[in-house]
């Protein structure tokens, strides 16, 4: 019982926006435990991460607090820097925290060099059964790149495909690598893509594939997408060959809205899309699991500028915004996002990676200042 009372007490203490006051009630709170009302405080697990992680996580916390987001952080400092081979990269307690809270935000973690480790992302994906990775790539106002008006969301299947790790040498000098595609996983990610499109007011889902060559594997993925698309007549469904999709992302990105992809294709296309809007430093990312949602900054730990207050917190912040949307806190999400866009648009206060001179703390303050007017 104490579990769901604790957030209540905190909610009563602070962070209730004026004017939208809804008194939390024991009964309603209890009944809506699965889908808390808009004002209930959510506990979110936060992994600040390595390198610049703590600074940018600090910035996110500050901004969320200033925006009155009903979020309480359960901060767990984990570092993968000094994990010895054979040890768990992520402590069990940290994983349990995400499972319990169902929402998590993760800063950059350093992948340890050397063998004997499963990749960090793979560990998280498997432990939390995160089956889809979502990355909205939207041209930031005021951030000049060679490519304008990018507005695509990549949704990547995260559990199978080329990443199953089944490889063997059949004969000296001849290696076989297996790509596994299952109907279950394909349908699951396709359904999520359409659900995402619907709940985020997007019009079109494009299945990206290479079924002309991978006739059975990508063929099945495509079949699943086609079948699921029938259940969503309000969302337009298209298909695209991966190389043409990549070519058009460069030349005519407005062709695409939501893209749904297999694992490796998703890896490639999501990074391409991130490149089009100016790099991973501005790209939000969210992993959807059966029971949990983990938002993360996908950029590196930037050890060279760690602790110097030069880092750009935008990616982690926008990932947090995605998390707010997942929690149905759309108003808070809007406010923060608008503030970020305004600060970037003004170009007065930019971090070094965008050619500015502002420190992380100055940039954070600029966003907070905008929250009132946004």
């Amino acid at each position: 019982m104490s579990l769901w009372i604790a957030p209540l007490l905190i909610a009563a203490r602070h962070s209730r926006p004026a004017g939208r006051h809804v008194a939390p009630h024991f009964l309603t709170r209890r009944l809506s435990a699965a889908a808390p009302s808009a004002q209930a405080v959510r506990t979110v697990t936060l992994f600040p991460g390595d390198g610049i992680g703590p600074e940018i996580a600090g910035a996110v916390k500050e901004i969320f607090r200033a925006a009155d987001a009903p979020v309480q952080w359960e901060e767990i400092a984990i570092s993968t820097k000094n994990v010895k081979p054979g040890e768990d990269l992520i402590p069990q307690a940290a994983l349990d925290s995400v499972r319990r809270n169902r929402y998590g935000l993760k800063g950059p973690l350093e992948t340890p060099v050397g063998k004997g480790h499963k990749s960090l992302n793979l560990t998280l994906r498997q432990a939390l059964s995160l089956y889809a990775n979502v990355r909205p790539c939207v041209s930031m106002p005021g951030v000049k790149t060679k490519f304008d008006n990018i507005n695509v969301v990549t949704i990547r299947e995260n559990t199978e495909g080329e990443y199953v790790g089944l490889e063997h040498e059949v004969y000296p000098g001849v290696v076989e690598s297996l790509k596994v595609i299952t109907r279950q996983a394909s349908e699951r990610v396709a359904r999520f893509a359409f659900e995402y499109a619907r709940s985020n007011q997007r019009k079109r889902v494009t299945a990206v594939h290479k079924a002309s060559v991978l006739k059975m594997s990508d063929g099945m993925f495509l079949e699943c997408c086609r079948r699921i698309s029938k259940e969503y007549p309000d969302i337009e469904f298209k298909e695209a060959l991966i190389e043409l999709c990549c070519g058009y992302l460069v030349s005519q990105p407005q062709r695409y809205d939501v893209l749904v992809l297999t694992n490796l294709a998703g890896d490639i296309v999501s990074d391409l899309a991130a490149g089009l809007i100016g790099g991973l430093g501005l790209t939000a990312s969210l992993n959807k699991g059966e029971h949990v949602v983990l938002a993360e900054a996908v950029h590196g730990t930037a050890p060279d500028i760690a602790g110097k207050d030069w880092a750009n917190p935008t990616a982690l912040l926008l990932s947090g915004v995605m998390l707010l949307r997942e929690m149905d806190l759309h108003d808070h999400a809007e406010r923060i996002e608008r503030a970020v866009h305004q600060v970037l648009q003004d170009a007065q206060c930019r971090t070094r990676d965008l050619g500015g001179t502002a420190r992380c703390s100055e940039y954070t303050q600029a966003i907070i200042d905008r929250l009132g007017t946004a």
Partner: protein, 430 residues
């Protein structure tokens, strides 16, 4: 599918037995498409095109092909003074682009004869007479063939590459003067392994709803393509080779590809070598493409990254691609897409096909003709605003072709004038 493969294998065997019999082509079996060869030297044609082309703007050949890199392989069958090349117009926009190429070759009086085969049923594989023709001529100009999604067999595109072991796909993206590209000075050569990897066609479903697809990487072929990339870099005075892989995930398969590339790189210490993960490559390619020089790619990544590269360079309709191997060479559009949406409307951009013809000419060491046609194509882009709809213009395929031919004629006329001038000078001299 099995049956199809057998047919293909049989026809290949039959063709191989013919390989060493020269001169079996008969004139009646081919359509004569070009004018008779000319002996007029065109060595200074480039200087006569348009002075603007030489001053201030870079002119790079579509592939900077140095014939010597390639001519370790057998060249085309000679036919009188000309060479015979097999022409497969393909589907979609293929036939119209090929008509454009043939018209340009005719106007430029290129001593090449095309042995044309319309493949009526591409699903049934390569007809034996085509296999024979290719083995005879060893040179192919090819339009795209569309692979329907439901089709279970091996597509004709792959049959041709694998069957004739055309292992290296070379696409050179370079700044075409007058074409608006996303980035300036993009000059990248993509060298792609063309025969294995994800394109093995080995897939099966052990249980309903679970499909396995095999990606095959071999040491032999990985080394061979790496060797090709470095030799290309060396011959064409390029400074750096970047090997693209995903060895952090596909530790054995892409790991082997990377190992082979490193092994070959050690033999070319004067060429810089770096390796890059495929997703990072995509990101850097769109942000800072100038950092790339020669890019060495496994099959599927080559497909994807080559497409990004041509888009960056101004459009998929612009750049040609060559497929090279011990069996000969095949030239086509860099992005092998049939473009069925615009097929038959007469609005396809024939540039890629015409420049593929230019690559063919360089392969045959017909450098003068190659320069002549290439300069005319560049002149259309630099000096006129004739553009097909893919580049925002309204010109038809025919109008574009006519513009190229106009420049050819103009250059020809200039040359004749100069010849006369020289004659007069000679007279004065004597």
């Amino acid at each position: 599918m099995q049956a199809l493969r057998q047919v293909a294998a049989q026809s290949l065997r039959a063709a191989r037995s013919l390989r060493h019999r020269p001169g079996i082509a008969t004139a009646s079996s081919r359509r004569r498409l070009t004018a008779s060869p000319t002996n007029a030297p065109r060595s200074d044609a480039r200087a006569l095109v348009a002075p603007a082309l030489l001053e201030g703007s870079h002119i790079l050949s579509p592939t900077s092909i140095d014939g010597d890199v390639y001519n370790v392989y057998p060249a085309a069958t000679p036919y009188g003074d000309s060479k015979i090349v097999t022409l497969l117009p393909g589907e979609g926009i293929g036939p119209e682009c090929m008509r454009s190429l043939v018209a340009v070759f005719e106007a430029a009086e290129v001593p090449i004869e095309f042995d044309t085969y319309d493949i009526a049923e591409p699903e049934k594989g390569l007809p034996p007479e085509v296999v024979n023709a290719i083995n005879r001529n060893r040179l192919v100009m090819k339009g795209p063939f569309h692979t329907p999604y439901g089709f279970r067999g091996t597509s004709l595109n792959i049959l041709l590459r694998r069957g004739f072991d055309l292992y290296a796909n070379v696409v050179h993206v370079y700044p075409i003067p007058g074409v608006k590209a996303k980035h300036d000075n993009v000059d990248i050569v993509f060298v792609r392994e063309n025969t294995e990897g994800e394109y093995s066609g080995l897939e099966h479903s052990a249980v309903d709803g679970v499909v396995e697809s095999l990606k095959i990487v071999t040491e032999e072929r990985s080394t061979r393509i790496a060797e090709y990339a470095f030799r290309y870099a060396m011959r064409n005075n390029r400074k750096k080779v970047t090997a693209v892989h995903k060895a952090n995930i596909l530790k054995s398969a892409d790991g082997l590809f990377l190992e082979c590339a490193k092994g070959v790189a050690a033999k070319y210490p004067f060429i810089e070598f770096e390796n890059m993960i495929v997703d990072a490559t995509c990101m850097r390619l769109v942000n800072n493409p100038q950092q790339f020089d020669v890019v060495l790619l496994p099959n599927l990544y080559g497909n994807i990254i080559g497409s990004i590269g041509t888009s960056l360079g101004g459009g998929t309709g612009l750049f040609p691609g060559a497929n090279l191997g011990p069996g000969g060479a095949m030239f086509e559009q860099a992005v092998r897409h049939a473009g069925r949406g615009i097929a038959g409307k007469g609005i396809a951009n024939p540039t890629a096909t015409i420049l593929a013809g230019v690559m063919l000419l360089r392969y045959l060491k017909m450098f003068d003709h190659a320069d002549f046609i290439q300069d005319a194509v560049h002149a259309v882009y630099e000096l006129t605003d004739v553009r097909t709809p893919d580049l925002g213009g309204t010109a038809s395929t025919e109008a574009f072709t006519a513009a190229v031919i106009d420049f050819l004629d103009e250059m020809d006329a200039d040359e004749e004038c100069d010849d006369e001038d020289e004659d007069e000078e000679d007279k004065h001299g004597s």
